[in-house]
């Protein structure tokens, strides 16, 4: 997209540009979320699941049933219910979860950080190892390392994650005893710090509880490596193909003609160009993990968002499902924005 900023030296143009961008973003966020709420809300009301029954049980007297139904506002027309839901949702009130009896917002504030922590670590591992691996595979095309990367890519596609998770638990926890069992932190440490962000690694580190911190590290390392592995498989494969494409370009030859070192040609010239499409790949992979990988969370008893939403869905806990879906929607839109900004930063042609 050619934009007005390239020719305008004035700060006025730049300011206008960023204001337009911000307005655009707010608009996209609002419409996306509205659409998401609408779709989820109506699907939730249409499915033949009775939320009243979920609360009162199927042996409740009709009077109780009717009262609860009225309390929930389920006797009102659908459109009116939606309007009420929407008005509350703007203030951050998504109602209460039937399953946990907590406000949905509280549940999300507890579960999302767990998923966030795991997904971030997994993506970091995948990126920091996957990119160099992909670069090496492309540079040494057809070599052993190239075969290795292609094998990992294939394995990442074809091995079910829960199986690999169970096997890794069996090996590193049951057999070798290198890592503690499932969960985020040992109960003995869980009283040593106060949850602030609910990101355990961050909370313990900020409060100087280093024993608790290291215990949390030992808990997260296995699931993070597992997610990291799948993210690595994807990222290295894509890096390899983007790099092969860049290395065949004329500017790479020009860089060699200049007498630059091969290191510089590869990392400064080719990878800087390959980084542009890689941003999207990494964002996509991160978004995927942030959605909460239910299987991994289940295998490692990780109290994350994926598990929360799945449980709620299975128990017809529609408030929780709606709230969780909205959080994921927001995360997607935000990630999209970040990758868009990075894209602009990395590729002058898009500014």
């Amino acid at each position: 997209m050619a934009s007005s900023i390239a020719n305008g030296g004035g700060g006025h143009d730049a300011l206008r540009f960023y204001l337009t961008k911000t307005a655009q973003f707010v608009f996209v966020l609002a419409t996306t979320l509205l659409g998401l709420v609408a779709v989820t809300f109506f699907i939730g009301r249409i499915v033949p699941i009775d939320p009243v029954l979920a609360i009162v049980g199927d042996r409740a007297p009709p009077a109780v049933y009717a009262r609860v139904r009225q309390e929930l506002g389920l006797d009102l027309p659908l459109i009116q219910q939606f309007w009420i839901y929407l008005r509350k949702a703007v203030t951050g009130d998504f109602g209460n979860s039937v399953l946990t009896t907590n406000p949905v917002m509280t549940d999300i504030a507890n579960t999302f950080p767990a998923t966030f922590e795991l997904a971030t670590l997994g993506t970091l591992i995948g990126t920091l190892i996957g990119i160099p691996l992909g670069v090496l595979a492309a540079v040494k095309r057809g070599s052993l390392i190239d075969q290795f990367v292609r094998f990992i890519g294939l394995a990442g596609y074809s091995i079910p994650i829960f199986w690999l998770g169970l096997m890794s638990l069996l090996l590193f926890y049951a057999k070798l005893g290198w890592v503690p069992g499932p969960g985020r932190i040992d109960v003995t440490y869980s009283y040593l710090y106060t949850p602030v962000t609910n990101i355990v690694l961050l909370d313990t580190a900020m409060q100087g509880q280093w024993d608790a911190f290291w215990d949390a590290v030992s808990h997260i390392i296995l699931p993070a490596c597992l997610l990291g592995y799948f993210s690595l498989a994807y990222i290295s494969r894509m890096t390899r193909s983007f790099m092969l494409n860049e290395l065949a370009q004329e500017y790479v030859i020009a860089a060699r003609v200049k007498g630059l070192s091969e290191m510089r040609v590869i990392w400064r010239h080719a990878l800087r160009n390959a980084a542009v499409p890689l941003v999207t790949v990494i964002a996509l992979s991160y978004a995927n993990l942030l959605e909460g990988s239910v299987l991994t969370e289940t295998v490692f008893a990780w109290p994350g968002l994926g598990q929360y939403i799945t449980n709620s869905l299975q128990n017809a806990d529609m408030n929780a499902v709606l709230g969780g879906t909205l959080v994921i929607g927001t995360v997607f839109v935000l990630l999209n924005l970040v990758s868009d900004l990075l894209y602009r930063l990395l590729d002058p042609r898009t500014r």
Binding site: I253, A254, R256, V257, K258, G259, R272, P348, R349
Partner: protein, 278 residues
């Protein structure tokens, strides 16, 4: 003639592919002083591969052999990687065909020139910057300061090619290989770029290998012309004696040049003889 700058003897470039071996260059020999040598020939005749082999930049499945390949007395076939890297950019440089593809799209023009300079001169950034700006001025950029901070997509083809020339000449090399430096540009811009190239090459007393498929352009621009056909040099001539060409391929090329004086219709086409490729 003084001691030659570049000696090439029986240069061969082969590509071993799954479908068989392609011989892109088949025994090219020539010597070059601080003079201008033109290489002409049709598409696929091995002009570019000859130039790239001299720089040691033959692409991967390619294999280069030669009885002798030496620059300023240094054997390029046995030289260390380090020596080769010092040669490249430092003493031998190359201007490529299309600035749209040969400049890195995510680096500013200034950065790319500075990088070329600093790869060979151990200087600070400020000095490299001055040098880059001076070079942009030498290629007749109207506003060097502005061009310095532009990205390749923000300049025209002619400006891009002049930036390319600035980048490749900033280290004061002894030999420049110009591989169809103007074939991606339109005629008027092309003349301007050639004039600048001409001036810089004379000023600095460089050797020049000028690759083109335009026989007329080459003969007006160079001292000597090699005519290549199917990977071989079929004829070597002084540019001014072009009319005395003996090889039927060269004669054919000459006949195909349209002239205003004696207008021929239809324009003659070139008839190839399979024996030329032997």
């Amino acid at each position: 003639m003084m001691k030659p700058l570049l000696e090439v003897e029986d240069l061969r470039v082969r590509f071993h592919l799954r479908t068989g071996t392609i011989e892109a260059v088949r025994g090219v020999s020539f010597q070059l002083g601080r003079e201008r040598l033109g290489i002409v020939g049709e598409s696929g005749s091995g002009k570019s591969q000859t130039g790239r082999a001299i720089l040691g930049l033959t692409p991967p499945p390619g294999e280069v052999t030669a009885k002798r390949l030496a620059f300023d007395g240094i054997d390029l076939q046995t030289a260390s990687k380090r020596t080769l890297r010092e040669m490249r950019g430092g003493r031998i440089s190359m201007v490529m065909q299309d600035p749209k593809y040969s400049l890195n799209p995510v680096m500013t023009i200034g950065e790319q020139i500075i990088e070329a300079y600093q790869a060979h001169a151990k200087t600070g950034r400020a000095e490299a910057r001055d040098k880059a700006l001076a070079m942009l001025e030498a290629v007749k950029m109207r506003d060097p300061q502005r061009v310095f901070s532009l990205y390749p997509h923000e300049v025209s083809g002619g400006m891009g090619q002049r930036a390319m020339i600035a980048m490749m000449l900033v280290t004061d090399p002894d030999l420049l290989i110009a591989d169809e430096p103007t074939s991606a540009l339109d005629v008027t811009v092309s003349m301007e770029v050639l004039r600048i190239l001409d001036e810089l090459v004379s000023e600095r007393g460089m050797g020049l290998i000028f690759i083109s498929h335009d026989l007329k352009l080459v003969s007006s621009f160079c001292d000597r012309v090699l005519v290549m056909y199917a990977g071989r040099v079929v004829e070597e001539l002084e540019a001014k004696n072009l009319r005395e060409a003996k090889h039927p391929y060269t004669q054919g090329l000459m006949r195909c040049l349209p002239t205003l004086a004696n207008d021929v219709h239809p324009l003659p086409t070139l008839n190839r003889d399979p024996s030329w490729a032997l």
